[in-house]
Symmetry: C2
Subunit: 388 residues, 2 copies
């Protein structure tokens, strides 16, 4: 069963050396040995993106304080720079098992347990700081957030934000403490706007399951070439889309397992596309069952999204809230890509129009951020843009 | 550091065979081998009490529906019996890695990862069901809840309840799914009243730390004799007290580490009582420092509670909520004892009067439940009382 062997496997979801997918070692792999549960902070790209999902995610969006009419341009950029200097230093320390400068609770982070901290900047902040011409072009198109999609019921409580921190790890005490240290460290400059907490299965090496029971994250980019093509932008950064999704659990529970598989277009047990055998089989929308009907309904979730998986690094987390007779759970859909105008947005438009799954899911939060590239030792997040 | 070795250690916090503390194998020990992450459901006492704390706790209190004036006594007991039959069957299945009867998401619990489900009944429910003369005498004294304590700021949102389920485990997906299956299974009979979620450090074999940075749970009963004396009542059940505590984090952060140690009466790093060397050293309130002052302030947390630890099985979990500039975190204090009128209540009265820690903590939720004894295969929770 999923005993210690599985837990051990969790500590090396990726290999440090070049593996069969052509992945080279960098801070995107949780490829530590059994003696080392740290994920490198510095690297070409930020950690927490290609990194195999840790079991816990705490995502906090902040607004920069004091954004009045006298207070724009260089002054906003100055304050952002101050925040980035402090946060980079503290995040580098905590993820590497060192004590941040102002931390009086060192014991709460001495074992990082794969802690990663990933930062993103909101398009409206970049406009305010007059930095739009220094970042990829999609940012300008999304200054007012992602486009509206059919069926969206967005709650400001889970939308927007000037700066986001995605804090992930396998020890919730360390994750919680990191959020506190970072929030305290910049309390003169930022105020929390929203908080989202997510989890995935204790790692077994298998693709984790969402709370509808399906494997989630089968079709994602895996090789360096796929990442270079679709995920990293020309600066080495990426776009992070965060959508909060609520499930209508009582309605979902009415469906039997066959019906659920039709809605998704995949097998529950194996995760294989319908008509296939294995989770990682190519999706074939033209394959017909003996009666001449396609195995995969063209309006199923997979029927609409087939072929798009390699263009987004999905890193979704489950959430649940207050226990109610109606259930209260869903998904924090997080994806990374070099241009959301070409990846997330057109696909989500198609899904919003006709995905059968829409009957049971509702998007209630939406945010998009540009994640600056990775750092070298001593440098701070986004220094290339803030000093360029 | 706390790598795989630590994770492996987490899978066997207690030994299956009789250990140096005189603990014998039963469903109270998470004493599974590396191949088996199940904790026995059936046994003399319910699991999840003596069991070493798993990393996650989801505690849900429910009220029995339809409690109108025509509807008391036998009818209430009948409904409670129905709920117990269903829940015992489903809890036994899920904790043992089997699929509950009505579960269409079997894949979400196939690896229990130390899942335990523990039930308790509220005193007011036992009064309504006319069962007070069949349970320990303390229940009658607490029909309106625990006594009020100085400084309490109780919120009904986290207080009271007819029935409680403490669902603990090392995989949050399995924990979440268990709550859903159980809530759904009895939705005609019960309605959720409150939900509390807690976590402790990923296990390393050390006493876990609370979010004030201190080890929490050093002085607890450990041997069978200590449990028989203080925890299990004459029926094999126990009293479960649940207190939700909020920390005033910004005020706490003003204190330096020495001051924090004075407040607690213990060392932060080692957990030793001040003036001692080791976490498990006996607390000596009379030991004087070189200037003739007691090492342990008589009004420190340990100064007041010294000597009481063996009489309560504490099983506290950290919680944190929305990230705010003021922080938002605390402790779900859970303790078990055979008579709260002799254990929790008098101690909490003393603490509420003069514990230095009160300056930084506030009790905002309070509930007490009687946990029926354990089950034998085929029997349901509380059958001895409900059929006696």
């Amino acid at each position: 069963m999923a005993g210690t062997a599985a837990v051990i496997a969790s500590c090396s979801p990726d290999g440090k050396s070049k593996d069969k997918n052509g992945t080279t070692p960098d801070n995107q792999s949780a490829g530590h040995s059994s003696e080392d549960t740290r994920i490198d902070f510095d690297g070409e790209h930020q950690a927490g993106i290609k990194t195999a999902p840790q079991t816990h995610a705490l995502v906090v969006a902040y607004d920069l304080k004091n954004r009045d009419s006298l207070d724009k341009g260089q002054r906003t950029a100055d304050r952002l720079r101050r925040v980035m200097r402090i946060w980079t230093d503290d995040a580098r320390s905590m993820t590497q098992g060192r004590v941040p400068l102002a931390d009086l609770e060192a014991e709460l982070t001495k074992a990082p347990m794969n802690l990663t901290i990933t930062v993103g900047w909101g398009p409206q902040l970049l406009e305010k700081a007059e930095l739009l011409d220094k970042v990829p072009a999609w940012v300008k198109n999304n200054v007012h957030g992602l486009p509206a999609f059919k069926g969206d019921k967005l709650n400001p409580e889970f939308s927007g934000g000037d700066i986001v921190l995605q804090i992930c790890g396998d020890d919730l005490t360390a994750v919680s403490h990191a959020a506190r240290v970072l929030t305290r460290g910049c309390r003169d400059f930022v105020v929390p706007r929203w908080t989202q907490r997510g989890f995935v299965d204790a790692p077994t090496g298998e693709t984790p399951r969402n709370l509808l029971g399906f494997k989630d994250g089968t079709a994602i980019p895996r090789t360096d070439e796929e990442y270079d093509k679709a995920i990293w932008d020309e600066l080495g950064g990426t776009a992070m889309v965060i959508r909060r999704i609520v499930f209508d659990i009582p309605a979902w529970e009415i469906l039997d397992r066959d019906s659920r598989e039709v809605v998704f277009g995949r097998s529950i047990v194996s995760g294989a596309p319908l008509g296939g055998q294995d989770e990682f089989d190519e999706v074939d929308l033209n394959k017909l069952d003996p009666t001449g009907i396609p195995f995969i309904d063209p309006h199923s979730h997979v029927g609409i999204s087939a072929g798009e998986g390699k263009f987004m690094r999905r890193r979704a987390y489950n959430w649940d809230g207050e226990i109610t007779p109606l259930g209260s759970s869903g998904l924090i859909f997080i994806c990374f890509q070099n241009d959301p105008d070409k990846a997330f947005t057109p696909l989500q438009k198609r899904l919003a129009e006709s995905d059968r799954l829409n009957q049971w899911i509702t998007h209630v939060g939406s945010a998009v951020f540009w994640c600056p590239p990775g750092t070298q030792e001593g440098a701070y997040w986004g220094s290339g843009v803030l000093e360029g």
